[in-house]
């Protein structure tokens, strides 16, 4: 395995941070401001893509900034998992930027400059997490992400936003300080001053089974962005944010950072084999299973579309955690792929929810009767996204579900297979009715008079793109698959 | 007799403790601010008394060189500092001149000069603050001032 030393990971992380200055400076000229965002987005994607070949060949890219604590550097390291995540995040940022321009301008939102600036910071933090080489760097960017998204979540600055923002920060910051930080310090001491992620784990052999269980639970709860119950309620609360924020951050960046951290901890800190030998991950398996089912059931009861999607996200995130905690190769591959697949599907759904809101002002599922034929692109995209999440071919979600099922069979745990099966059924139950209502139920009395039309083009284009993305991921999964497989292989 | 000796050799210290505790109690428990400051001064002088007691030597004189000793040319020459317990400096004429046992320990005195000055400085500032409080609240009793502050708030 070759190791390349290059500053590209740092550059990819920093590029969106650097663009904050120009964004703020050009606050009086919206077009210029948004073009900065696009410029940064394409540069970022370009840098990420330029690293792809090396990673695909099984290499890693490293860059160390400086030692920040004894034996601990602020360091970047790109491997398959990080690459996959960075690829997803930076691609979708560009799409979302386009969408947010349409959304924000049509809604005549205030403080758009602040919005775009913090969005860029949040992206930096996301890539930072993806490329971090050790726990400390990861924690640093993790906190940066929590903080930079707070102004985005509370963008409306009203009473509701205030309450939502409060829950958001309390959960994310509180758990990270209360659980993740002590777990991290304990890890640091137990490992003798090292926190570099290595495949196979650096803690292997230095902690007992009980300690490993406790630490693992602390990490999973500490990275509450993963949404494992009972620390999940920040995500529904965060739905007060404008839809582009929900779409990118709460379907892709923030939540995926959570599960990404959990994956890193399981693979890089403890090591799959070590955990398997201790049986320490069993608790996590059950926690995740319960979350999968409970969140799906809760999603059924939600009338607000965005909240329904949020609970769906919680449930889907726990698939990923579950896949990792099953500690089998296929399940791990499946869960890593699910990061990408779910991202593509869920962002489509959020885009649609936003587009519906922009065009009609409707938030609730019960109001959406018959809008399908008026907004055909949007609702068709919704259908594709939903099918991908459910896991039906020919959509991307099918691959990840497939590997997860395979993994559950490999573990010889019939209950896990059942959990996955039941939850897939529940997925159908809470996602499809929206599309069904939109297309087959005739509009109610109140809706007939409203002049319904498609959302702005800047909104429709992205959601169409991502919807076809779901399809494309099914047809061309090789890159993702090989990136995911890189992690599953023993080093 | 042993008991008497013990008491004689200790009572100075005990009395400084009593004085100090009186001062401390007044500082904490008195309600009148000037009384608190008087307590503070008693507290500080008690500590000074303790320090001065450290420096006392039975049968010694004040720490100022006697006139003839000071003007004895022998002392102008550098004499080696003698070791503990045999503090005799032999001058040229073979006469005992300077013995450490003959003079009270000057160091505590020096320290206490400073402490006295610090004490009076603190007292002065304290009194100024009391006067200012009297101007602001018209009282020098702590409970009354607190009551006034509360009524201002309410």
């Amino acid at each position: 395995m070759e190791t390349v030393v290059s500053s590209k990971p740092l550059l990819a992380t920093l590029v969106s941070l650097l663009v904050v200055g120009p964004i703020i400076l050009s606050r009086r000229r919206p077009n210029l401001r948004e073009s900065w965002t696009f410029l940064a987005g394409f540069i970022k994607l370009g840098i990420v893509l330029s690293m792809l070949p090396i990673i695909l060949e099984g290499g890693v890219i490293e860059w160390t900034l400086w030692e920040i604590l004894p034996g601990l550097a602020l360091a970047f390291r790109v491997d398959g998992l990080g690459m996959l995540f960075a690829l997803v995040a930076s691609t979708l940022w560009i799409v979302t930027s386009l969408y947010s321009i349409g959304y924000m301008r049509r809604m005549k939102e205030h403080s758009q400059t602040r919005f775009f600036a913090f969005f860029a910071v949040a992206l930096s933090a996301t890539l930072g997490v993806a490329f971090s080489a050790n726990l400390l760097t990861m924690y640093l960017f993790y906190e940066m992400l929590s903080l930079s998204t707070y102004p985005l979540v509370t963008h409306h600055q009203d009473r509701e936003a205030r309450a939502g923002g409060r829950t958001y920060l309390t959960y994310l910051l509180g758990t990270s300080v209360a659980f993740a930080l002590p777990a991290m310090i304990y890890t640091y001491m137990k490992s003798g001053g090292s926190m570099e992620f290595v495949s196979g784990g650096f803690l292997a052999g230095s902690v007992s089974g009980g300690e490993a269980t406790v630490l693992l639970i602390l990490f999973v709860f500490g990275f509450a962005k993963a949404g494992v119950m009972p620390f999940h309620s920040w995500l529904p609360a965060a739905m007060v944010a404008p839809t582009p924020v929900s779409a990118l951050l709460h379907a892709v960046a923030v939540v995926k950072v959570g599960v990404f951290c959990v994956l890193r901890v399981i693979t890089g800190v403890f090591g799959v084999d070590f955990l398997a030998s201790l049986g320490a991950a069993t608790v996590i398996v059950w926690l995740a299973s319960i979350t999968v089912l409970a969140a799906s059931l809760l999603a059924l009861t939600q009338d607000n579309l965005k909240r329904r999607l949020a609970f769906s996200t919680i449930s889907q995130l726990s698939y990923i955690v579950l896949g990792a905690a099953m500690l089998s190769e296929s399940a791990l591959t499946g869960s890593i792929m699910h990061i990408a697949m779910h991202a593509m599907g869920k962002i489509t759904l959020f885009f649609c929810a936003g587009a519906i809101f922009v065009a009609t002002g409707k938030k609730y599922v019960s109001e959406m009767d018959g809008i399908g034929w008026r907004m055909p692109f949007t609702m068709f995209a919704y259908l594709l996204g939903a099918l991908s999440i459910i896991g039906l071919p020919p959509f991307g979600g099918a691959w990840s579900k497939w590997f997860l099922f395979l993994g559950s069979v490999e573990t010889h745990n019939i209950y896990l297979t059942l959990v996955l099966a039941i939850s897939s059924l529940l997925n159908i139950a809470y996602l499809l009715p929206v599309a069904v209502r939109a297309f087959y139920v005739p509009p109610g009395k109140g809706n007939t008079k409203i002049d319904l039309h498609e959302a702005p083009t800047a909104c429709v284009i992205p959601l169409t793109l991502t919807a076809f993305g779901c399809l494309a991921l099914f047809l061309f999964p090789e890159i993702l698959l090989s990136l995911a497989r890189l992690m599953g292989e023993p080093s | 007799m042993i008991l008497v000796d013990f008491i004689v050799s200790r009572f100075n210290y005990w009395i400084y403790i009593i004085l100090m505790m009186m001062g401390l109690f007044a500082m904490i428990a008195k309600k009148n601010l000037i009384k608190k400051l008087i307590g503070m001064s008693i507290f500080q002088t008690a500590i000074i008394l303790f320090f001065v007691s450290i420096g006392v030597k039975e049968g010694s004189t004040i720490p100022i060189l006697a006139h003839e000793a000071a003007h004895d040319p022998a002392h102008q020459q550098a004499a080696p500092l003698t070791e503990k317990g045999e503090g005799h400096i032999q001058n040229g004429k073979g006469r005992d001149a300077l013995r450490a046992e003959d003079y009270a320990n000057p160091l505590p005195h020096v320290l206490m000069l400073t402490a006295i000055v610090v004490g009076v400085a603190t007292l002065g500032v304290g009194l100024a603050v009391v006067q200012k409080l009297h101007q602001e609240f018209g009282s020098i009793e702590e409970p009354e001032i607190l009551a006034k502050i509360d009524s201002d708030d309410g």
Binding site: W66, I68, L69, P70, L74, Y139, L140, E143, L147, T154, Q157, D158, R159, A161, R162, G165, R166, L169, T170, L173, G174, V177, A178, L181, P182, I185, Y186, Y188, M189 | L24, M27, I28, K36, M40, F43, Q44, I47, F50, F51, I54, L107, P108, L111, T114, V118, A121, T122, V125, G126, A128, V129, V130, K132, L133, E136, F137, I145, L146, I149, D152
Partner: protein, 505 residues
């Protein structure tokens, strides 16, 4: 010139104080330039001194040319070398800040204010440099007297707070003096290094007098540093003081006293006495835990911004005392690092609070709606300090917590670790309460709206002389965090000279 650095550090503000008092009455325009100039000189020579110390070890400066133990000496090791730089930096920043604030809050008293200010800085610098136990007392009194006056300069409640401070401060200083007396009685020396040598040579560890001396000195410094439950004087004194005064008092006085405690424990009595012979570290750490929790919870109960910050100082003192008494190197390094980082954090918070109060005239947290819009840069500074208090990387608060928690785990004291984490969480709640209020607009009735319209005309960013120091401090918070390795290496150099820290952990 090179060997005179310790003297220059101290004498620059000292002579400036006299010059200000002499010239200030004639022309008050002299006050500020002299103050700033002297502090710049002091800062530069303290940095040079630190470089010298880092390179060639301890620097000893004999005052009057008398050798130890007959005269008084300055002893500068990396520990107080760092502290000197911190004191000078903070004093310089808040003196620049005071340009406008002093004119508003203490009109007509400009020369007196700056004289006292410079004497306070002189006292603190002297406290951190001196190698003589009694001289320390004198300098403590210089610093205290100036603090009393600076606090009492504002009217009403500040005066009562100042009186309580006089009483408590005098008890603390006198206890310290008494402890020094007991030490002198048994060792016959006042020089710190000499005392320790005599203690070791004469085998005085078993002496009751030394025990009581130690307790007296500890209680004395604890009163001075407001270690819970001896903290009674601090919250009122710091929150009612003029903001220019609290900006220099709050960051420095408690921290320098913590340094005095460290100096006393490690240089005078020696860790082998404090930790190995006495073995009280558990008791004191538990007291520190109570202090941390009590300080945080009391802060939670406050509605006044400055008072909340003052109670946080009480909690932070608990951090440092606990860290020092955990009796292992990591925790001690963490505690010393926290002394430095907390000094800057407190400065940043008080500067921001002072700027808010001078511009809006509001003290209560709930009155601070919409501040992000009105004074965004001030709030940026405030937020960075708040993040540091909570312990978010890469601010320095994270790293000090890192070392302290590390030390706590090393010592196996889980209570301390838990207390640190709980207090971090409480800090998070506290600061986000403020930030939330400031971030959101007022959901108000019409009458309120009119009030804000009429009132908002004057509310904007504070002048550059206030904003500049605030932002510089905020940047310092980040720099101290990012370059914590360099600082910690210096601290370790100092800590290793204290000798082995006992057998715990």
């Amino acid at each position: 010139m090179v060997d005179q650095y310790p003297a220059i550090v101290l004498l620059a503000p000292f002579f400036a104080a006299i010059a200000v008092s002499l010239l200030g009455n004639w022309k008050s325009g002299f006050c500020l330039p002299l103050t700033v100039l002297s502090l710049v000189i002091s800062l530069m020579s303290s940095i040079a001194l630190l470089g010298q110390v880092a390179e060639s070890g301890e620097v000893v400066y004999l005052l009057g040319g008398w050798p130890r133990p007959y005269g008084i000496e300055f002893r500068v090791d990396p520990l107080n070398g760092l502290l000197l730089v911190v004191i000078c930096t903070i004093a310089l920043l808040s003196s620049i800040y005071s340009i406008r604030a002093a004119a508003v809050e203490t009109p007509d008293k400009c020369p007196q204010f700056y004289t006292l200010y410079l004497l306070l800085v002189t006292g603190l610098l002297g406290m951190s440099m001196t190698g003589d136990a009694f001289n320390l007392y004198v300098l403590v009194e210089v610093a205290s007297l100036t603090s009393y006056a600076l606090i009492a300069m504002r009217s009403k409640r500040a005066v009562l707070a100042s009186f309580n401070y006089i009483i408590m401060g005098t008890i603390g200083a006198s206890f310290y003096l008494l402890g020094v007396g007991y030490l002198y009685m048994k060792t016959g020396s006042l020089n710190m290094v000499d005392i320790r040598e005599v203690l070791l040579e004469s085998g005085l560890y078993t002496s009751e007098t030394i025990l009581v001396a130690f307790m007296m000195i500890m209680v004395g410094v604890w009163i001075k540093m407001a270690f819970f439950p001896l903290h009674g004087w601090l919250p009122n004194a710091y929150s009612y003081a003029p903001s220019t005064a609290s900006c220099v008092l709050a960051p420095l006085v408690t921290k320098v006293t913590v340094y005095v405690m460290i100096r006393m424990m490690f240089t005078v009595f020696g860790p082998e006495y404090v930790f190995v012979y006495l073995g009280w570290s558990d008791v004191v750490v538990w007291m520190a835990i109570v202090a941390i929790l009590a300080g945080s919870i009391l802060a939670l109960a406050q509605t006044d911004l400055k008072k909340m910050l003052s109670y946080l100082i009480v909690a932070e003192v608990g951090y440092m005392v606990g860290g020092v008494w955990l009796a292992n190197e990591t925790a001690l390094v963490g505690a010393i690092y926290h002394v430095i980082s907390d000094a800057f954090m407190t400065l940043c918070l008080f500067l921001a609070a002072g700027a808010i109060i001078t511009k809006t005239g509001k003290y209560c947290i709930k009155d601070m709606e919409g501040l992000f819009r009105k004074m965004p840069w001030t709030m940026v500074g405030f937020v960075i300090a708040a993040l540091s208090m909570i312990g978010i990387p890469p601010t320095c608060g994270f790293f000090s917590k890192w070392y302290l928690i590390n030390g706590g785990i090393e010592a196996g004291n889980w209570g301390y670790v838990a207390a640190l984490l709980i207090s971090s969480l409480i800090n998070a709640i506290l600061f986000f309460r403020v930030i939330e209020v400031a971030y959101f607009k007022k959901e108000s009735t019409d009458s309120d709206k009119e009030e804000t319209v009429s009132g908002s005309s004057g509310v904007g960013e504070p002048p550059l002389t206030m904003l500049g120091p605030l932002l510089v401090t905020a940047v310092c918070l980040l720099l101290i965090g990012i370059f914590n390795q360099e600082i910690v290496i210096l601290i370790r150099q100092a800590v290793s000279s204290f000798g082995p820290l006992g057998f715990i952990g």
